[in-house]
Symmetry: C2
Subunit: 343 residues, 2 copies
DNA sequence: TCCGGCAACTAGAGCGGTTTAGTACCTCGG
DNA sequence: CCGAGGTACTAAACCGCTCTAGTTGCCGGA
């Protein structure tokens, strides 16, 4: 027998489709005896709901959407997304919610996908990542009236809810640590300049200069690729008055930087200290291990999912959840600067 | 105005719903003039198809499913999936097909997901990865009659189509290269022992012993994690008569192995050569760079998508596509063995 | 002139659920 | 013994789209 429908169950039990629907959805209108009988028959017939039919009636789609406007190559190397994804799904699957994932070219395509999926009732809500400085996605999503959660830093995302970490505080803790070790020339290999968190980190570093009396700090923007991370490192290490410590916005770039230092014969941490803003297996596995800011990305995914579920349940709701600030895990890539270089 | 339906368009143009449906789907039954008018109005009203309604009629769901039964932590570190994903989507999005992704605990949960998504018409077909030696998923999918493509090695996957690479040939090419450099003691840090490709690689290595007159080859299975990769490396390098070359089944493990060698003061490639079975940014970025088998994973994803689309279009079809065998990219982690260690 | 055939369209059933309006029956107070 | 009110159910509309069967009008051939 092909897929059974509630009509099949109704016939077999000898009740109406409506009664079956009530019973299967646990709502009042049927006696306990009838409900039990219907559930038993549904189970025997191996019935499963037809999500399309449900969605048609205006009910939940039973899925959330995540659209990424990042080049595929960038996606590949960062553990961040995979971990975020599994954290999201751990929470979502408890609610039998699926996840629609799409990788697109740019944010225009991303917005078009939001339109299509909303119109098509394909998803009940969206997760947004990588908020940029003047991000057209917020307005578009608000216009669509689709529930959404932004994963980003502090600040406003239109009327959208958010889950955020304090990048500023994290950067300050890194620079405080380096300054305490005696470093005065700290450089920063940043990520995409358009991203909000890149801006926040750059600003936090600049503020540290004044506060801690550092000299000569600089932030070089990159596209997060290993190639640009390596190039930026090469630039920094070739300068007269080279930095004694470099902070990288991602673990892949930190790793690339470590490679460049080795290549140039610059000892780590003897001549330059290295800190990564992201922790992952990569930072643990290298030799020397890389001092990193560590956070529980899987838990972060769970929090995002939680907030999204709440917003889906009550679209009028708006929540802004601050997550734990990443803490610094010290490994072998950081040490006090060599005497004579610290000026 | 809320989301427009084809009925709204029909009313506005002054034709029936059926005519609108014909026009929008590019099928005969309306004149060119009417079709143009309908398309124009649809565009003006910003109409988008409601995929649930389409799926209800028994038509395509407009999505494919990828269910991964891997621990989230393993997922994170390998660029492989992200690249595969983007390759899949590049091809699928040309057909406006979306992708439903789910990470589950084990293959029982995976099979249950296949049941649910098939019943619910949520997807039109599936991509299967990580085929194991006696894999229950093939039978389950055949019973469901769902179109599917297995990404794996040569061999039968029940009646399912497949896209496969020749692991055996790849392993042989690695061992040939190492033997040509003069290595006689080659070790292998393998992946999960239950996976078919792990078995094939182990067998290929064993066969090389006889063919090339190597001594003392060994394959240590792992769970693909950096921890087990490091542990296996430690074991191998502590042995009397330690190997002069180690082949790793993944880039993360090769990286971990490189770290362990550094820790133990074993020079790479002076005292031990290292080869990774997977190429990615990680192998390029380290110092020394790791010699690796390289393949175009994004293109691979495209091929899988192509075959899946064909099988969805004609479920009776069965295709087995062999992909290009990975080619060896030599970097600095391999060299002839030091004199006196090669025996 | 009439009819067959075709192009261009319409009407409406159907997909598998949900939901509302309505009905039959039971119970209980007065 | 009657009617109000609650419970347990049925019938059917409805969601947006597809697709089949039918209808209309026009053209060309005998």
């Amino acid at each position: 027998m092909a897929r059974p429908t509630i009509a099949d169950i109704a016939r077999r039990v000898g009740v109406s489709k409506g009664a079956v629907s009530f019973a299967l959805n646990g709502r009042p209108g049927v006696s306990e005896a009838t409900r039990a009988r219907i559930l038993q028959v549904a189970d025997e017939m191996n019935w499963r709901p037809h999500s399309a039919a449900r969605a048609l009636g205006g009910a939940r789609a039973g899925a959330v959407g995540l659209v990424l406007a990042r080049p595929a190559s960038t996606l590949g190397v960062e553990p961040f997304f995979a971990q975020l994804l599994s954290g999201l799904q751990a929470r979502l699957s408890a609610e039998s919610m699926a996840m629609n994932l799409l990788v697109v070219e740019d944010s225009a395509a991303e917005i078009e996908t939001y339109r299509e999926w909303t119109s098509a009732h394909r998803v009940d809500g969206f997760v947004l990542v990588d908020p940029t400085v003047r991000d057209p996605r917020f307005e578009a999503l608000e216009a669509l009236g689709a529930p959404a959660v932004v994963l980003g830093g502090p600040g406003r995302f239109g009327a959208l809810s958010s889950v955020w970490a304090d990048d500023r505080e994290a950067m300050l803790s890194v620079v405080d640590y380096l300054a305490a070790l005696g470093h005065r020339r700290v450089a920063h290999v940043a990520g995409l300049p358009g991203l909000r968190h890149t801006q926040r980190r750059i600003r936090a570093l600049r503020d540290s200069v004044r506060r801690l009396g550092l000299v000569d700090t600089v932030s070089l923007p990159t596209d997060f690729s290993d190639a640009e991370g390596a190039a930026a490192t090469r630039t920094l290490l070739s300068r007269p008055g080279r930095p004694t410590a470099i902070v990288y916005d991602s673990d892949v770039m930190a790793l690339a930087g470590l490679g460049v230092a080795g290549e140039m014969g610059v000892r780590v941490p003897g001549e330059v200290s290295i800190v990564s803003f992201d922790d992952s297996v990569l930072t643990r596995v290298t030799h020397p291990g890389i001092t990193s800011l560590s956070r529980d990305t899987i838990a972060l995914g769970g929090q995002v999912a939680e907030v999204l579920l709440q917003v889906i349940a009550d679209p009028a709701l708006r929540r802004d959840v601050k997550t734990a600030t990443p803490r610094l895990v010290v490994r072998e890539s950081t040490a006090p600067p060599a005497p004579g270089t610290a000026g």
